[in-house]
């Protein structure tokens, strides 16, 4: 069994979280020491197992780098939930789990006989996590969505745009990656601590819409106070310039001048003659009042230099600045490797690839060692034998009958 030393040692999780948001919750719980049994099936695989990227030449259910990035340190238990036997085994595993987690549409777990009430009847102190898109009650409870459509519905996309252009949000399924797994994680951990103190389990429901709306909570309060916020792009009131600018090599940097010292530093970095710079830009108020012209001038200056040279100059001049890091920059970032954010794993089909760890560490302790993501059904026999007392022959029969499959 895979068990990472950590504060959740002894916690067993039956994991029906597929695709996006839920898989990151159980990934973190595994890193914190829980034993995670991920239920999936060859007859109905997690869609993420079919999602690119693949290393050229390696496709199929075991080859997805996307799946791998979200599922290290978990066990894979193949159960065909379309069969009564598969559902019975799942119910037996649920009866002795500490946490049962899912992110299906409302009704799916109940169809499998795994509703909260059914699991609780066998396992009164279970912590039962569900992550429906809009909640399990209400007129839109059955509506479906993906991260990008949830971000749109939640107001984040509409506020993330350039003036006069189609709103684009983060360009990703962002709610699946931070807001929804993050809020669910906090709530499950709180529920586990409550259970440790009182023995009481509960149903934790994380409605993904509500979780994502919370990420723009201040905008809602402002609107309630009569000031509906407008999209700001990269601009803020207290600094100008404050934006992203392209360099000569096609890479981008962020430059910010909140103080006059930053502005003077920027002029030094550009080797601009202060006397000859547009007089409208001398004061912060002037730069804010003529921000379009300012951005145009800053952009022209940035385009004269490579990103590396420009950043070197900006830092030497004390100007708040950063590379707009690409995925290549992130994967090759020496600091992130030194901090242990990335860990290289060796996978029998994919080969080596870096996987990110949960983004915090206990000072003075090593970060959890990730175990490579499981092949589909890799741990089925082991789990059925150890958890439910099946014999190897029984396991093989269940596999042959496409139940443990």
């Amino acid at each position: 069994m895979i068990s990472t030393p950590g504060p959740l040692n002894g916690i067993r999780i039956l994991d029906f979280c597929w695709i996006g948001a839920g898989a990151l919750v159980t990934k973190t719980l595994a890193e914190l020491g829980a034993v995670v049994y991920r239920v999936e099936s060859r007859t109905h695989p997690d869609n993420l197992r079919l999602a690119p990227p693949y290393r050229p030449g390696t496709e199929g259910l075991e080859g997805s780098g996307y799946f791998a990035s979200r599922n290290p340190s978990k066990h894979s238990v193949a159960l065909n939930m379309a069969t009564p036997e598969g559902r019975t085994i799942a119910a037996r595993l649920a009866a002795q789990a500490d946490v049962v987690a899912s992110n299906f549409r409302p009704g799916v777990m109940a169809r499998w006989g795994l509703s909260y009430d059914e699991v609780r009847a066998q396992n009164p102190d279970v912590v039962y996590l569900t992550m429906p898109m809009q909640g399990e009650t209400g007129p839109h409870a059955s509506y479906i969505g993906f991260g990008s459509t949830i971000a749109a519905l939640a107001g984040l996309v509409g506020l993330s745009r350039a003036t006069g252009r189609t709103p684009v949000g983060t360009g990703t399924h962002y709610p699946d990656h931070v807001p929804n797994p993050g809020h669910a994680l906090v709530a499950v951990l709180a529920a586990l601590r409550h259970r440790a103190r009182t023995g009481q389990g509960q149903h934790v429901e994380l409605a993904q819409l509500e979780s994502t709306v919370s990420m723009i909570g201040p905008a809602l309060i402002a609107a309630g106070a009569g000031q509906e916020p407008e999209p700001q792009g990269n601009r803020v009131d207290h600094a100008a310039p404050h934006g992203a600018y392209r360099c000569a090599d096609g890479q981008w940097v962020v430059v910010e001048c909140a103080e006059s010292a930053h502005w003077r530093g920027l002029l030094r970095a550009f080797e601009a003659d202060g006397e000859r710079v547009d007089p409208r830009f001398v004061t912060h108020a002037g730069r804010k009042a003529h921000e379009d012209a300012l951005d145009e001038w800053v952009a022209a200056q940035c385009e004269r230099m490579s990103r590396a040279e420009l950043l070197h100059r900006l830092r030497a001049a004390g100007v708040p600045s950063a590379a707009v890091k690409t995925s290549q920059d992130m994967v090759e970032d020496a600091e992130l490797w030194a901090r242990g954010f990335w860990q290289e794993i060796e996978h029998p089909v994919i080969g080596t690839m870096p996987i990110s760890r949960t983004p915090f560490r206990r000072v003075g302790a090593p970060r959890p060692e990730l175990v490579r993501p499981p092949l589909l059904g890799e741990h089925t026999f082991e789990v059925l034998e150890q958890e439910l007392g099946f014999s190897r022959a029984e396991c093989e029969l269940l596999a042959h009958e496409k139940v443990a499959y």
């Binding site: 959740l8 990151l24 914190l32 869609n47 079919l50 690119p52 290393r55 990035s69 209400g138 479906i144 969505g145 993906f146 749109a152 519905l153 939640a154 107001g155 506020l159 993330s160 350039a162 252009r165 949000g169 360009g171 990703t172 399924h173 990656h177 931070v178 809020h183 906090v186 951990l189 709180a190 601590r193 723009i216 909570g217 905008a219 809602l220 309060i221 106070a225 000031q227 509906e228 916020p229 700001q232 803020v236 404050h242 934006g243 962020v254 708040p320 950063a322 890091k325 690409t326 995925s327 290549q328 920059d329 992130m330 901090r339 954010f341 690839m353 983004p359 915090f360 206990r362 003075g364």
Partner: protein, 419 residues
């Protein structure tokens, strides 16, 4: 003592926990989340200055401009207007730290600004310290190196959300092909860092419970928190060498994207990641409504996902669907698409959200009479429902008060015993 939480109330996961909140914009939401679960969160504002009080959005009130970011993330907290220059106040602060189960700090190690490493180690011996910074702490942040330093790092130039979003890799994926990166609204790296900060706090409490009450320091990097959101891009680079660029207004395949409606925009995902049925349903919907050009989409090649990923197919679909969608409202498109199991949502405005029937049905907005804003306002409630320990309803942060003898009653052990 009437303001102390009810020590006999066991109904909240953190009702035995006192949190000292010494955070800036990257950590303040962590304290709110812990307060949602019943913790007694005391935010300490030196000289009455809250470093987040100027963060947008700002709304005008009779008291001047008020930050609704500050109002939102300080929900449920008590505020101590701490006067470091006042005789005795440093001792009061020390008493408060001694009473803390969790200390959340951001920008840098805050306690080391006032005490030596050894003094902090004694004061916070039983506390879970969660330090939320833009890029994480140094290897040996609590100064065990023996050089007598406090371990507190000098503050560099102010780091804000845009810089963290750039360094965390998410900024690169947002924005437009021609305009370049445009950051997501609202300071998402602040919320991300705080969510994982709250996670670390509860993990720390569980570890402390298991380790006989010994405290520890947890290091939360906002950059790493945002780097959780790189989607498939890091794996794509690692496995293929391809650097994913921002998509901008151009979707990855026909059936997906943001499209204009008569009164705004809608967002749709149909035809990818196992939604092949949704593509069929989408074409049928267009056919049933007599959409011009639908016959093109009914040709056999459109049934192939690989064909729908071609630039020509994306352009053709966008043309056909835009003509259809601009003739209908967001609400009409939403209702009809969902009835056909197509993942389409309106691109909501904030006003849309406040009248959203689903959110209203679920009482997502709770009317809060916040004196700082001068009127009752619908605040979002905590975004989780918990059957045994319902999170606290939002309460406005208290007005800062200078004299808070009530803050420091009880040590963690006494409170645990009392509860």
């Amino acid at each position: 003592m009437s303001e102390m939480r009810d020590l006999k109330e066991p109904s909240q996961p953190l009702s035995d926990v006192r949190v000292i909140d010494l955070t800036d914009e990257f950590g303040a939401y962590a304290g709110k989340l812990l307060a949602d679960f019943g913790a007694d969160v005391v935010r300490v504002c030196a000289d009455g200055e809250d470093p987040i009080a100027t963060i947008a959005p700002l709304v005008p009130t009779v008291h001047g401009e008020v930050s609704t970011f500050e109002r939102f993330v300080n929900t449920g907290k008590r505020i101590w207007d701490w006067r470091p220059e006042t005789p005795g106040d440093l001792d009061r602060f020390a008493d408060l730290v001694r009473s803390a189960d969790v200390v959340i700090e951001s920008s840098t190690l805050q306690l080391e600004r006032y005490w030596s490493t050894a003094e902090v180690a004694a004061l916070a011996a039983h506390a879970v310290r969660v330090v939320i910074t833009p890029f994480g702490l140094a290897d040996d942040p609590v100064g065990n190196g023996g050089d007598g330093s406090t371990g507190a790092e000098p503050a560099g130039p102010a780091v804000d959300d845009l810089l963290v979003m750039a360094e965390g890799g998410l900024l690169h994926l947002g924005g437009y092909e021609d305009l370049g990166p445009v950051v997501a609204y609202g300071g998402q790296s602040r919320f991300a860092a705080s969510i994982f900060g709250a996670t670390a706090a509860i993990v720390g409490l569980m570890a402390r419970d298991a380790e006989g009450g010994r405290g520890a320091v947890y290091d939360v990097s906002a950059q790493e928190c945002i780097a959780q959101a790189l989607e498939d891009s890091a794996a794509t680079y690692s496995l293929t060498g391809q650097v994913r660029d921002r998509l901008g207004e151009r979707p990855r395949e026909a059936g997906t994207g943001v499209f204009p409606a008569a009164d705004g925009y809608v967002s749709m995902v149909a035809g990818r990641l196992g939604t092949a049925k949704a593509w069929t349903a989408l074409v049928q919907w267009l056919a049933d409504e007599g959409a011009p050009g639908v016959a093109i989409l009914q040709r056999p090649e459109w049934g192939e996902f690989s064909f729908r990923q071609s630039p020509a197919a994306i352009d053709e679909f966008t043309r056909i669907f835009t003509e259809f969608s601009t003739a209908r409202t967001k609400a009409e498109l939403y209702e009809h698409a969902q009835a056909r199991l197509i993942a389409l949502s309106p691109v909501s405005t904030v006003t849309d959200l406040m009248s959203n029937p689903q959110l209203r049905h679920r009482d997502f907005f709770v009317t809060v009479d916040d004196p700082a804003l001068g009127r009752p306002i619908g605040y979002p409630r905590p975004p989780f429902k918990m059957s045994a320990t319902p999170p606290r309803a939002p309460r406005p942060a208290e007005a800062p008060r200078p004299t808070r003898d009530d803050l420091v009653a009880g040590t963690p052990g006494e409170r645990r015993n009392a509860s």
